[in-house]
């Protein structure tokens, strides 16, 4: 039965129109935008200076003056959450960049070459995958010393196999297609084909994985700085704030609640965004709508 229901490739405007009908996408998009805005605003302005200790104001409950309250040194929690956002975003973003920059070419190369090269690369991949990411990140920062840069590298390395796998799986599905055969018959090398035909066709896949890894990166950064291995004081970070709040949970619960919420909301927002993008661009879900 030739029921070629041809799904037309959408124009940009129709994709956008569809995007704004997708609740997950809109919610994720708004949340992500808010967090980003918060981080950017923190460069220019924060309600209070986060490096200034005002002992007389210590552990104040949320009030009009301090919306999120103050910590045990009298620093404004709202300001700290804002500055912490830029740290989290920077670490997660660069880590995703490292993962994509190294992982995608590796995966595409493995898919293009096949055989032993593919096998060797993927087993190496498995090896990296086999280590619990956070544990290894702790190991790396323990060896090279704590700090935001080392946290980025540690998280980045563990993003590589994820992207390599996704890129390889996507590329393997594209390679047997006839238009690749046509390109080969036109004499294009496998590198050229990978860049011109394979990558654009797996771009959406990578975009979705990117948002998910971004969320995981924020979590990992919070984990590392909670253990004291991420950004160092006096630079505030969400994980560090949670650590400080730990012993004062009963007396000053707001010290834990607000940075904790920041982490939850950021991760939730990014996951919703990723889900939304996948829904909008996935031809299967398109058909059901």
């Amino acid at each position: 039965m030739t029921l070629h229901i041809d799904i037309p490739e959408e124009t940009l405007s129709s994709i956008l129109a569809k995007a704004f009908r997708n609740t997950a996408f809109v919610a994720g998009f708004v949340i992500t935008l808010l967090i980003l805005a918060m981080a950017i605003v923190s460069y220019a302005w924060t309600p209070y200076d986060v490096t200034k200790l005002v002992i007389s104001d210590k552990t104040q409950a949320p009030s009009l003056a301090h919306w999120f309250g103050t910590d045990h040194f009298g620093r404004d929690i709202l300001s700290m959450v804002m500055v912490g956002a830029r740290n989290s975003i920077a670490v997660a973003l660069v880590a995703v960049g490292i993962g994509m920059g190294v992982g995608v070419p590796l995966g595409a190369f493995a898919a293009a070459r096949g055989g032993l090269v593919d096998e060797a690369l993927m087993r190496l991949n498995d090896l990296v995958f086999a280590f619990p990411a956070l544990l290894s990140a702790i190991m790396i920062t323990a060896i090279f010393g704590p700090g935001a840069v080392n946290a980025i590298i540690a998280i980045g390395i563990f993003n590589i196999p994820v992207f390599a796998r996704v890129a390889r799986a996507g590329a393997l599905a594209i390679w047997p297609r006839e238009f690749i055969l046509a390109a080969r018959a036109a004499g294009k090398s496998s590198t050229q084909i990978s860049i011109e035909h394979v990558l654009p066709n797996i771009a959406t896949l990578l975009l979705v994985q990117g948002t998910i890894q971004f969320a995981l990166g924020i979590l990992a950064e919070a984990g590392l700085s909670y253990l004291g291995l991420g950004a160092q004081p006096p630079m505030p970070s969400w994980g560090r704030m949670l650590f400080d709040a730990q012993t004062r949970m009963v007396v000053a619960p707001w010290m834990a609640i607000f940075p904790g919420m920041a982490i939850v909301v950021a991760v939730l927002g990014l996951n919703l965004l990723g889900d939304g993008i996948a829904d909008i661009l996935d031809p299967k879900s398109r058909r059901q709508r």
Binding site: T2, R177, L181, G187
Partner: protein, 540 residues
């Protein structure tokens, strides 16, 4: 009194009208052929009868099956009908079966569901049905899985499922389109026997006029969701009263005008294939054992003179496409040599192959799959240009693409479009534009027209013929369709089980085949002239 009666059936999906005032009837024991090109509403008519339409579809009119008003029937009533009184056979045997269930389970499933028979009883009946469709117990136990069967065998299983409960009406939607001609003839014979045996009505849907003429007592011709002409098969097709009927019949027998032969036999051959063999290693059941390999191409030698058009015909799986890939240097032969323009191309690196690639291009079967959906036409058609010695500038490239598009009958404004904006026939033109842009000496075309409607097919064959005359391009046409071979080629090579078993002038081989394989192909090929003649004779 007829079994199925469709009156004034109109169908819209969303705001798009799909069918308009369809009239159709099938009597018990009658074969009704429903013919039309893609998008004419054939499949939608079938789905309306089964009530398997998409949700947005709205049908009006009357559809009566065996006294039951189908359009008013509830889903429960339909479930009782489907698979019991109405059976359906789909086009694609590869996807119509559930891959994780055995064939026995799949045939027995419907029997148990509809008759409340016990498992043993149902399996017994399933076994009998499988025997009936030509899958005997000894070779095809019920514990086989679909992937262990070939395409033709799977289609037999699909027919077994559809006919297991002796339906009153069988709807077969392009049941043989995915099969080669020999299998097609076998499946059609089976359907004809089943109809005769149990006085089942058969609604046979096809785009192939010859197939329908051979099978159907009456035909209905659809176009754009409307019935163009309906009536007795022999009379309708011999008188060709309606202009559209005439157009369809002519398109399916179309032979492009080709003034003269290009090139001569005495010259140096353009392509020379000598003793080429390709083995595929067998599966490795354990570390130390290896199943015997498969020899896909076995000691094949052939040559093509410049400007000649050669057909390579054979059944599916005979090694045609493997041979084509080796000629295009996309695959390496296990042994033997291939030389092009007097130079050996086997064993050369990609860089060394560049000059050869310039003169050798390819057109694929599937006009949907052979273009990257994310690139614009200009880039896609220009793809082979990068093998040129001198890289063309942007302006030159633009000019060349425009010229190539013009040559295949497309507008140069089409350059900024994406492939999905074109119809199947237009895409095949794009494919040809891409193939001729480097002014090649040889174009290998792998089933280039088998996915197209007859009228589009006629146009594309004309285009191939014209380019052969104008540019002197030699063709290697790979096809299982003998009408295509006859229409456009000078010589034909018949391939069977990896070997070339017969070769010669196209008309001679197709009129007087010598080898078993060629004879099988020729007798199985549906032929409109012959089918009409036979129909006329039967009726006296």
């Amino acid at each position: 009194m007829s079994l199925l009666d469709i009156e004034n059936l109109s169908l819209t999906i969303g705001d798009t009208p799909i069918l308009k005032d369809i009239e159709l009837s099938v009597a018990p024991g009658e074969v009704m052929g429903l013919v039309g090109e893609s998008g004419s509403g054939k499949s939608m008519t079938a789905l309306t009868v089964m009530q398997l339409l998409p949700h947005a579809a709205r049908a009006t009119g009357r559809v009566t099956f065996d006294g039951i008003d189908i359009l008013a029937a509830t889903e429960d009533q339909m479930c009782a009908l489907r698979g019991d009184d109405i059976g359906m056979v789909f086009q694609e045997p590869m996807t119509a079966l559930n891959p994780v269930k055995t064939i026995g389970e799949q045939v027995a499933e419907g029997i148990r569901w509809h008759t409340k028979a016990s498992r043993a009883e149902a399996e017994d009946r399933a076994r009998k049905m499988l025997d009936r469709v030509g899958l005997p117990e000894a070779k095809f136990p019920m514990s086989r899985y679909p992937h262990e069967l070939s395409g033709g065998q799977r289609q037999r299983v699909v027919i077994a499922i559809a006919c297991a409960l002796k339906p009153k009406l069988l709807i077969a939607d392009e049941p043989t389109t995915a099969l080669d001609v020999v299998l097609q003839a076998q499946i059609l014979d089976l359907l004809r026997d089943l109809v005769a045996e149990s006085r089942m009505g058969l609604l046979l849907i096809s785009h192939d006029l010859a197939v329908v003429t051979e099978m159907a007592d009456r035909i209905t011709i659809l176009r754009h969701g409307e019935v163009m002409e309906a009536g007795d098969t022999a009379r309708t097709l011999s008188e060709q009263f309606h202009p559209y009927t005439r157009q369809l019949a002519q398109a399916s027998m179309h032979v492009p005008a080709r003034a003269r032969l290009h090139g001569n036999e005495t010259g140096r051959p353009l392509l020379q294939v000598e003793g080429v063999t390709r083995d595929y290693p067998g599966r490795r059941p354990s570390l130390f054992k290896r199943a015997p390999g498969i020899r896909a191409v076995d000691d094949v030698s052939l040559s093509i003179a410049p400007g000649r058009s050669v057909a390579l015909v054979g059944r599916s799986g005979c090694g045609k496409s493997t041979l084509a890939r080796m000629i295009l240097a996309l695959d390496r032969p296990t042994s033997g040599t291939i030389s092009f323009r007097g130079e050996t191309i086997t064993g050369k690196s990609q860089a060394e192959l560049k000059p050869a690639r310039r003169d050798m291009q390819v057109v694929f079967q599937d006009p949907y799959g052979s273009f990257d959906p994310r690139q614009k036409v200009e880039k896609l058609v220009a793809e082979p240009l990068h093998v040129l010695e001198k890289k063309p500038t942007r302006a030159e490239r633009h000019e060349m693409v425009a010229h190539a598009l013009h040559e295949v009958g497309l507008d140069q404004r089409d350059m900024d479009k994406y492939p999905h904006e074109f119809s199947g026939g237009q895409r095949q033109r794009l494919s040809i534009a891409r193939a001729i842009i480097t002014r090649p000496k040889l174009v290998v075309a792998d089933e280039p027209v088998s996915a197209l409607d007859v009228s589009i097919r006629a146009q594309i064959l004309d285009l191939f013929a014209e380019l052969n005359q104008k540019l002197g391009i030699a063709y290697l046409f790979i096809t299982h369709d003998l009408t295509v071979a006859r229409a456009i080629t000078d010589e034909v090579l018949v391939m069977h089980d990896g070997k070339i078993v017969e070769r010669g002038k196209t008309n001679e081989v197709l009129d007087h085949p010598q080898s078993e394989a060629a004879k099988a192909l020729v007798t199985a090929a549906p032929d409109l002239h012959r089918a009409i003649a036979r129909r006329m004779q039967e009726q006296g």
